[in-house]
């Protein structure tokens, strides 16, 4: 049996492209993503190589200037972009898996499962999220370090914090997604097409995946675009406090923390704050714009 072509998806995209703000946001995101991936390769600069030229203002050789260790800020900002975007998108993917599964199960099964899952969501809502993430990174990092140390001469050691951040942030940011999906499923499952599927003798798994999930795609995509900036903000909070991504690697949060500390009345190294701040704010702004536009396009 071939699946009939979904009618909602192309329509949604066309409605989205009709909005100038959404187009600008998507172009900006593509630009930031591509330059973070391609520019380091084209410019051939190393974000970690130090030089005696410390605190150089922006110039032709260093378009974004240099930092306290004479590292090129452009290369550092691009590295920050890669790490922040990686954490943002992967963390969102983790939250997507948990949130959708929980929401689908709670909404479809109802009864005890629903009550149990929604109580869990309520409880997790009541706990300061960032505290949980900080505790998790703090406790799991040494364990993961010890476990990874013998593998390939410890070449993965620098990445443990990032991995934990992705999982921990994903495990925290799924709550709203679960609530939204559950609400949608509650109303969808009373509709005739679900009852028809059940009357035809289709299994629950099949109904969930083939009938309910495609109908939820729109809502999920909209909410995903809004989760990415939230995860990125959380990551930068942690890195800003010195609890997230560890030196020598840098995310936008770490760079901004350096930049904020360099502001003083005597000599301010403004470029240390300006460039990472602009890059991060533009990315978050585009993501939020895109989320808003998607939501409006869906409601149209």
């Amino acid at each position: 049996m071939t699946r009939p072509p979904s009618t909602s998806r192309p329509g949604l995209l066309r409605r989205l492209f009709r909005r100038p703000a959404a187009c600008v946001a998507m172009l900006l995101l593509a630009f930031i993503l591509l330059s973070s991936l391609l520019l380091p390769w084209l410019l051939n600069t190393d974000p970690h190589s130090t030089s005696p030229h410390t605190f150089q203002p922006p110039s032709f050789t260093h378009p974004f200037g240099t930092d306290v260790n004479g590292r090129d800020l452009l290369a550092r900002t691009l590295e920050g972009a890669r790490i922040s975007l990686l954490v943002g998108f992967s963390g969102t993917l983790v939250s997507l898996c948990i949130g959708t599964t929980c929401g689908l199960l709670a909404g479809y099964m109802g009864g005890k499962t629903d009550a149990l899952l929604m109580r869990l969501v309520d409880i997790l809502y009541a706990i300061p999220r960032l505290i949980l993430i900080i505790l998790a990174t703090f406790a799991l990092d040494p364990l993961l370090q010890r476990w990874l140390a013998p593998i390939q001469d410890g070449r993965w050691l620098g990445y443990t914090k990032i991995g934990i951040l992705i999982v921990a942030l994903g495990c925290i940011e799924w709550l709203t997604m679960a609530r939204i999906v559950r609400g949608q499923v509650l109303s969808l499952k009373t509709l005739p097409f679900v009852q028809a599927a059940r009357a035809l003798g289709q299994s629950h798994t099949k109904i969930l995946i083939r009938h309910l999930l495609p109908n939820l795609a729109g809502v999920i995509v909209v909410y995903l675009t809004m989760t990415v900036p939230a995860v990125m903000l959380d990551e930068s909070f942690l890195s800003f406090l010195g609890l997230g991504v560890q030196a020598p690697q840098a995310s936008w949060g770490t760079l901004l923390s350096d930049g904020a500390q360099s502001l003083n009345p005597i000599r301010s190294h403004w470029w240390l704050l300006l460039f990472p701040a602009t890059a991060m704010s533009l990315t978050l702004l585009s993501l939020n714009f895109l989320g808003d536009a998607l939501r409006d396009a869906l409601a149209e």
Partner: protein
């Protein structure tokens, strides 16, 4: 009302117990203790120190003793700020954080609702677009960017306000604005969306037909209904302000609870961390309870018993 309150308070106690246990066990189980330094302490001294802070014996002994003390309201001594109890440190720092949090909450609610209703009433005009663009910008720019920018503008260039620290009431102005920024934006967006929906509701046509003034219709009839989503957002907002205050306090060098939180983690100061986590959880759960109660008062269709 009473059974609802009892049930809520019981479940709050349960959550609090879990969080305290989790915090204590995670910190004690992770490698490195509060007295681990670059230069190793002589074993005899370390043993004495551990005994003094009741951190000797098996993990279970430490944990059950700690829980017993917490139940009696004794949060124990901080291992970093020697000879000072956690109760004392919290009593000193909490008023500062509370003042910052409450003023940010007030500023965010008042400004947010005002901006949101302005945008909704002038829907589709330049005011609406400008307010919503500004709100989106405020949500997207992290506080640790707006904070330094405000310092640069108002403290370093104009020299109107102090740069950081806590010397006068004026030094709380910039932190409050920084902390309230994203919250203003979220509240403004929420208010606008829900007021736009309400403005087309039939009960407003009735109010107009009764001959009520446009101001009375807007501020009494429409806004009261439109504020429901805003009230339910106050719970998550309190959580955001809590985490935000950690960053803002470190940005402006305020001696509040947030700075203790970060330091306690970095120094593995288990009792101080436990104390701060308890305070944060109680604040947050209390706020959520208040929101639920306020909700029933605003919307008579909801009953707490369900």
């Amino acid at each position: 009302m009473l059974p609802f309150l009892t049930r809520r308070l019981l479940s709050m106690a349960g959550v609090l117990f879990c969080v305290i246990s989790l915090t204590f066990l995670l910190v004690r189980l992770s490698p490195g203790g509060p007295f681990t330094r670059e230069r190793k302490l002589p074993p005899a001294i370390e043993k004495q120190l551990l005994a003094r802070y009741h951190l000797d014996g098996t993990l279970w002994q430490q944990y059950s003793e700690y829980l017993g003390d917490v139940l009696q309201g004794d949060l124990r001594l901080s291992t970093k700020y020697r000879d000072r109890s956690v109760n004392e440190l919290l009593a000193q720092s909490l008023p500062i954080s509370a003042l910052l949090g409450v003023s940010a909450l007030l500023l965010a609610t008042v400004t947010g609702v005002w901006l949101g209703s302005l945008a909704a009433v002038r829907h589709g005009t330049l005011t609406d677009t400008a307010a919503m663009l500004g709100a989106l910008g405020l949500i997207s720019i992290p506080t640790f960017v707006t904070g330094p920018l405000l310092v640069l503008g108002f403290a370093l260039w104009l020299k109107w306000l102090p740069v950081g620290g806590l010397n006068s009431p004026a030094s709380l102005i910039l932190p409050t604005i920084t902390l309230a920024g994203p919250a203003i934006a979220s509240i403004a967006r929420l208010t606008r969306t829900s007021l736009l929906e309400v403005l087309h509701a039939p009960f407003l046509r009735t109010a107009r037909a009764k001959g009520l003034s446009e101001n009375r219709i807007l501020y009494v009839h429409a806004l009261k209904t439109a504020l429901l989503p805003v009230v339910s957002y106050l719970g998550p907002l309190a959580a955001n302000l809590l985490t935000g205050s950690i960053v803002v306090e470190s940005l402006f060098n305020l001696p509040g609870t947030g700075s203790f939180f970060v330091n306690a983690i970095l120094n593995r100061d288990v009792f101080l961390l436990g104390g701060v986590v308890i305070v944060y959880c109680v604040l947050l759960m209390g706020m959520n309870l208040l929101v639920d109660i306020a909700y029933t008062w605003l919307d008579p269709r909801i009953r707490l018993e369900n």
